[in-house]
C-alpha cells in the first residue's frame, strides 16, 4: 500500500499547474520534432537540454520525457500522410499507413495509431509502476546468447517484409548487413569498409540512411510523377469504425506486449520493436495479402509497439541506471546534472521526484491522445497540399534533421547518397524495408554472437545454453518458414478450388 500512497502523492505533484504546463510543452515539442522528418526525439531533447539546467529537476525531467515519448506520436503523422518517415521508428508503418491515406483513410490510420500509442505507452508506464524491479531482473536474463536469439527472431521477420519477390528482398537484406558492418570491428578494433572516411569509423548512423532511402527518394519519385492531390471528397471518415477497432484490437495488445518486452532490454531500439510487430501482425493475420495495401493491423501494431518500447525503455534506466538508447541517455544526463543517479536506489532515495515523473507520463500520454485525435482533421489537410509546395519543405527538414544528429555535414552527404540510391532501387522495384531492418539488427546481432563466443571461447553450444535462447530460436525458425507453410496451404486449397470448378 506504500506503493499506492507514493503513486497517488506523485499524481498530486504531477497535476500541479506548473508540472502540467511542462508536460504539455514537452508533448507539443515532441509532436513537432516527430512530425518534422529527420529531427528525432534526441534532437528535440538536445535543443531544450540547456534550458532544463536552470529548471527544478522534476519539471525539467517531466518536459524532456514528454518530448521523448511525444515524438513517436508525431512521427506517425508524417509517415502516414507523406510517406516520409518522421522517425526511424516509423519506417515499418510506412507502407500500410500511406496506402490507407491514399485510400482516403488517413484519419482512421492516424486515430488508430494515436489510440494504440496511448494504450501501449500507458500500459508500459503502469508496468514501470507495478513491476519495475521484477521486470528489470527479467531483462538481466538476456545475456549475449539470449540477445543473439532475439536478434535472429528480429531478422526472421524479414520473411514478411519481402513484398513480391523473395530474392530481391534477400539481396536488399544482405546489402543492409554489409552497410551495418561498416565501422570498427567490435572485437579486433580494426576499421572495416570505411573506405578511408574517418567519420565512418563509428559506423553508419541510422538517421541519414533512413531519411535518404525513404524520405529523399520519395521526394524524388514525387518530383518525377507527382501524386494526385486528394480533394475533400476523397477523404472518407476521419475516425475509425467499430470494424476498424475490432480488427486492430489484437494488434494493439500484441504491440504493447512486444514493445514492453523489447523496451526492457538495453540495446534494442523503437525501430526494432515496430519491425518485429509488423512481422508478427503479418504472421498472425487472416489475410496477409492485405499487408502493404493498407492493412490497419500494419499501422496499429508497429505504432503501439514503438510507444510501448519508448515508455518501457525507462524501466532499465530507473531501476538499473542503464540507458538503452541515445534519447534515454539524454534523460540520464538530465538526472545526473540534477544530482539524481538513476539506479536501484532511485525510488528509495528520491520518491518525491520519481513518482511525479512517472505519473506525469500517464498524464502526458493522455494529453497526446487528446491533442492528436481532434487535430487529425487539420493534419489530414496536408494531403491537399500540392507536391510542389510540400517537397521543398520536406527536403529542407530532412537536411536539417540529418545535420543536427551529429552536427555533421558528412551525414547530410550520406543522406543525399542514400536518397539517390533509394530512388534507383525503387525504380528497379527492390523493397527497401529489408535494408532498414538488417542495418538495425545486423550490428546488434554480430556484437551479441561475438560476445557469446568470446565468453565460451569458441564453443557454439553457448548459443543454446538456456530455455529462453532455445525458445527464441525456435520461434525464429517458425516465423521464417511460416510463408512456406502458408504457400502450401494456399496451393492445396487452390488446387481443390479448381477441381470443384472443373
Amino acid at each position: 500500500m506504500e506503493l499506492f500512497g507514493d503513486f497517488i502523492a506523485g499524481f498530486g505533484i504531477a497535476l500541479t499547474p506548473e508540472h502540467l504546463f511542462y508536460a504539455l510543452v514537452g508533448c507539443l515539442i515532441g509532436t513537432l520534432v516527430g512530425v518534422l522528418p529527420g529531427i528525432g526525439s534526441a534532437g528535440g531533447m538536445v535543443i531544450l537540454l540547456p534550458l532544463t539546467f536552470q529548471m527544478e529537476p522534476t519539471g525539467a525531467i517531466i518536459m524532456l520525457a514528454a518530448i521523448f515519448y511525444g515524438s513517436y506520436y508525431g512521427g506517425t503523422i508524417t509517415t502516414i500522410l507523406m510517406n516520409v518517415p518522421g522517425e526511424v521508428a516509423s519506417v515499418a508503418t510506412m507502407q500500410d499507413g500511406h496506402a490507407m491515406a491514399r485510400q482516403g483513410r488517413a484519419g482512421v490510420a492516424l486515430s488508430i495509431a494515436a489510440i494504440g500509442s496511448f494504450i501501449g505507452g500507458t500500459l508500459a508506464t503502469l508496468a514501470l509502476v507495478l513491476m519495475a524491479p521484477a521486470l528489470s531482473e527479467m531483462a538481466l536474463a538476456f545475456g549475449p546468447p539470449e540477445f543473439f536469439a532475439l536478434m535472429v527472431l528480429g531478422l526472421a521477420t524479414l520473411a514478411f517484409l519481402a513484398g513480391s519477390s523473395m530474392p530481391r528482398a534477400l539481396a536488399m537484406a544482405v546489402f543492409g548487413l554489409i552497410l551495418g558492418s561498416i565501422g570498427t570491428d567490435p572485437t579486433m578494433g580494426s576499421p572495416r569498409l570505411t573506405m578511408g572516411f574517418v567519420p565512418l569509423l563509428g559506423g553508419l548512423d541510422f538517421v541519414p540512411v533512413v531519411m535518404g532511402l525513404f524520405g529523399l527518394s520519395e521526394v524524388l519519385i514525387n518530383a518525377e510523377n507527382p501524386t494526385p492531390v486528394l480533394t475533400k471528397k476523397d477523404i472518407k471518415g476521419l475516425y475509425p469504425s467499430v470494424r476498424d477497432f475490432r480488427q486492430s484490437a489484437g494488434s494493439i495488445v500484441r504491440g504493447t506486449g512486444l514493445g514492453i518486452l523489447l523496451g526492457l532490454i538495453p540495446g534494442t531500439s523503437q525501430a526494432l520493436a515496430s519491425f518485429v510487430s509488423y512481422g508478427v501482425e503479418k504472421a498472425v493475420a487472416k489475410r496477409p495479402e492485405e499487408f502493404g495495401n493498407g492493412a490497419i493491423q500494419g499501422v496499429a501494431g508497429p505504432e503501439t509497439a514503438n510507444n510501448a518500447h519508448a515508455n518501457a525503455a525507462l524501466i532499465p534506466l530507473f531501476t538499473l541506471g542503464i540507458p538503452g538508447s541515445p534519447s534515454v541517455a539524454i534523460l540520464l544526463g538530465a538526472f545526473i546534472i540534477n544530482g539524481l543517479a538513476p539506479g536501484p536506489l532511485l525510488f528509495e532515495q528520491h520518491p518525491e521526484i520519481v513518482w511525479p515523473i512517472i505519473c506525469s507520463m500517464i498524464v502526458g500520454n493522455l494529453m497526446l491522445l487528446i491533442l492528436n485525435v481532434p487535430l487529425i482533421g487539420m493534419w489530414v489537410k496536408i494531403l491537399q497540399v500540392p507536391t510542389s509546395i510540400l517537397s521543398p519543405v520536406i527536403v529542407l527538414f530532412i537536411c536539417l534533421g540529418t545535420y543536427l544528429v551529429n552536427n555533421s555535414v558528412f551525414d547530410v552527404w550520406v543522406m543525399i547518397l542514400f536518397g539517390l540510391l533509394g530512388y534507383t532501387l525503387r525504380k528497379l522495384d527492390f523493397p527497401l524495408s529489408p535494408i532498414a531492418l538488417t542495418l538495425i539488427v545486423g550490428p546488434l546481432m554480430e556484437n551479441a554472437v561475438r560476445q557469446a563466443l568470446s565468453i565460451s571461447r569458441g564453443d557454439v553450444s553457448i548459443l543454446f545454453r538456456s530455455w529462453l535462447a532455445c525458445g527464441l530460436l525456435a520461434m525464429a525458425v517458425f516465423v521464417l518458414t511460416l510463408p512456406l507453410w502458408r504457400l502450401r496451404a494456399i496451393q492445396t486449397r487452390g488446387a481443390l478450388g479448381r477441381d470443384v470448378e472443373d
Binding site: G143, V198, P199, P266, I322, G333, I337, N406
Partner: protein
C-alpha cells in the same frame, strides 16, 4: 616627451605580446564574440554535460561573452579532436580533451587520425575519475588478488567486460595483465551500460570501468569494487584498496580537461587555464562535479601538457607490448 610616449606604447605592446598577464583578463574573450566549446560525446553524455557546466561557469566569469557547446560525436570522439585541431587558432574554439583515450586515437595507426599531441595546446584539466574493477556482489572474488590468482590458474578464461578494443578499459586490463603476468578474457561492449547489464546478469565475471560507472550499483550493494587504479583510494569508495596496494602498480582513469588547437596565443591558453582553476575551486561546481561522479582534479597548462605526454608514453608502452 615624444620619446617617453613611444616608450610607453612600446612597453604596452611588449606586455600584451608576451605573457600579457595584466591585460589578458579583458582581452579574451571579446564581448559578443562566440566561443565554441567542442566535445566528442553525444548530447547529454558525460563529456557533453562537463562541457556545458564549464561553458556556463565561463560565461559567468566573462560577462557579455557567449560560450556555445557543440557536440561532435562520432568515430569514438576522434571527430571532435579533428574538429578542434582544424579550427581557427584565434582562441575562439576549444574543446574537451579526455585522457588516455585521446592518446590512443593517434597512437593507433589504423585510425588514420589527422592529429597528434603537437596539434593541441592543452589549457587545463578539470576532473578525474579513477579506473576501477568491479565484480557482482555474490562473486567468489573478494580481492583483486583473488581475481588475478584465478586468471593465473586459468589463463584466458576469466571474463572481464570492457568497452571496445583498445578502449581505455581494455588497455587497463591489458596493463594489469602485463604487470601481473596473467591473461584475462576481455568481452567487448558498445558502452559501459551494456557491459554493466552483462555483469549484473552474471554473464561476465568482472567489469573494468571507472568509479563513476559503478556508483549507483555500489550504493545498492549489487556489485563490489576490487580495486581503484589511482594513487590513493577514491573519495566515493574510501574502503576499496588501490591496485598498487594489491600488488599491481597500474594507474589509470579518465580525465576531462580542455585544450585549444596548437598555435593559439599562450596568453589566451593561460587565461583559460586560470579560469578553469577558479571554476574547480568554486563550491557550486564542487557539487556539480560530485553529481557527475567525478573528482575535482585541477592541472594548469604546464601540468596538463606534461600529463598528456606521460599518458602518451604509458599508452605507447602498453600497445608496444601487445603481441600482434
Amino acid at each position: 616627451m615624444i620619446n617617453l610616449k613611444c616608450l610607453t606604447i612600446a612597453t604596452a605592446v611588449a606586455l600584451a605580446g608576451f605573457a600579457g598577464n595584466a591585460f589578458a583578463q579583458t582581452a579574451w574573450p571579446e564581448p559578443g564574440k562566440v566561443v565554441t566549446v567542442y566535445n566528442g560525446g553525444s548530447p547529454g553524455s558525460g563529456q557533453d554535460l562537463t562541457a556545458r557546466l564549464v561553458a556556463e561557469a565561463l560565461q559567468k566569469i566573462h560577462p557579455g561573452s557567449n560560450f556555445q557547446v557543440v557536440a561532435k560525436p562520432g568515430a569514438g570522439t576522434q571527430l571532435a579532436y579533428q574538429t578542434i585541431a582544424d579550427s581557427p587558432k584565434d582562441g575562439y574554439s576549444f574543446g574537451i580533451m579526455s585522457l588516455p583515450t585521446f592518446a590512443t586515437l593517434y597512437l593507433d595507426p589504423s585510425r588514420q587520425a589527422g592529429f597528434n599531441r603537437d596539434s593541441f595546446a592543452p589549457a587545463a584539466n578539470f576532473i578525474f575519475d579513477p579506473g576501477a574493477i568491479a565484480v557482482p556482489a555474490e562473486s567468489p572474488y573478494k580481492t583483486l588478488k583473488d581475481l588475478l590468482d584465478a586468471a593465473k590458474a586459468k589463463p584466458g578464461e576469466v571474463t572481464v567486460a570492457v568497452v571496445g578494443p583498445k578502449s581505455r578499459e581494455h588497455l587497463d586490463v591489458t596493463a594489469m595483465e602485463q604487470a601481473a603476468g596473467v591473461k584475462f578474457n576481455p568481452i567487448f561492449h558498445n558502452d559501459s551500460g551494456t557491459g554493466l547489464n552483462n555483469l549484473l546478469g552474471g554473464n561476465v565475471e568482472a567489469q573494468q570501468g571507472s568509479v563513476g560507472d559503478f556508483l549507483a550499483q555500489i550504493a545498492a550493494g549489487r556489485i563490489r569494487l576490487l580495486a581503484v587504479f589511482a594513487k590513493a583510494p577514491s573519495a566515493f569508495a574510501p574502503d576499496v584498496p588501490t591496485a598498487e596496494a594489491s600488488g599491481v602498480p597500474v594507474f589509470s582513469g579518465v580525465t576531462r580537461g580542455f585544450t585549444f588547437p596548437a598555435g593559439v596565443d599562450p596568453a589566451i591558453v593561460k587565461q583559460l587555464s586560470d579560469d578553469i582553476g577558479a571554476i574547480v575551486n568554486s563550491p557550486e561546481q564542487q557539487e556539480n562535479i560530485k553529481n557527475l561522479g567525478f573528482e575535482a582534479n585541477y592541472m594548469d597548462m604546464e601540468q596538463f601538457t606534461a600529463y598528456a605526454k606521460s599518458e602518451e608514453d604509458r599508452i605507447k608502452d602498453i600497445l608496444s607490448k601487445i603481441p600482434n
